[in-house]
Subunit: 166 residues, 2 copies
């Protein structure tokens, strides 16, 4: 099952390396990782997705929480959060397939970003499952490149992991 | 200046740690990093954003390219690519400011994801500069949380970094 862990770290060289090193030394593979600045320039928010059971997730959270760089950390279950990912996809549909390709893109609320001579580049937004399913549908049209951001998530309602104004 | 480097790596434990370690050992700070699977399950695409000059970017690319895990690597300049980032933002506007907040969200093509009792969570999509500017505008409404994916990019036209079908 996909599990999403979100945490706030101090924004300085080496933090990402320590985080990734800690996880990989234990042999866990990260499905996706997204690290972006916050409105507080001293803080970065990292979101990782792993396929793991409760015991592994508990262990990863406990270990990461021990790092001095980590200010706050929490799992954000899908039913308690807004999960989103962005994907850029370049496909090379055969000439006769271009309109069928566009129909699938529209049906997935995709947006055309660029037309090449033989290729079309689009943008898709959704949960991992939504993006996976969309890629499955579009793969009939010769996908040649994909750039996915990895998931980010915020808890639903007024809950928050860390107040940026603190 | 923001510079975007995109590269394809083998999808296995330790790769992210080696990549982040190589960059941080040289004292370079990564502004954002996005790592997501491709349609080829053996390959992950990583996009990093750094503020750096030509000499530094050349050095980072040269060093990363030496890693066995790195299959292909390239800088994607903004004028030659589709650059996109996704941001989730939770704000706590004062009651009287809620409609002004919504107006700003609409003007930036944002989308409401969730209403809390006191908070509103939205989604924004654009280049780093667009997202930065949007956050600046929304910061008048008490932003309490942000989760940004970091930038992903694909080259415009038919160019490609690495054909996933190879």
């Amino acid at each position: 099952m996909q599990r999403v862990i979100s945490f706030i770290v101090t924004n300085q060289p080496g933090v990402l390396s320590r985080v990734a090193g800690l996880i990989s030394r234990r042999g866990f593979n990260i499905e996706s990782l997204a690290a972006g600045v916050t409105s507080n320039p001293k803080l970065t928010r990292i979101t990782i997705v792993m396929y793991a059971d409760d015991a592994v997730i508990d262990q990863v959270i406990k270990q990461l929480d021990k790092l001095l760089d980590v200010k706050a950390i929490k799992e954000i279950p899908q039913d308690a959060g807004s999960w989103k990912e962005l994907a850029l996809i370049k496909a090379k549909p055969a000439g006769k397939d271009r309109s069928a390709f566009m129909n699938v893109v529209n049906s997935r609320n995709g947006r055309i970003l660029d037309f090449g001579i033989d290729t079309i580049t689009i943008q898709l937004i959704g949960t991992i499952s939504f993006v996976n399913k969309s890629i499955e549908l579009l793969d009939n049209f010769n996908i040649i490149e994909i750039a996915r951001t990895g998931m980010v998530a915020l808890e639903r309602g007024d809950e928050m992991l860390y107040n940026l104004n603190l």
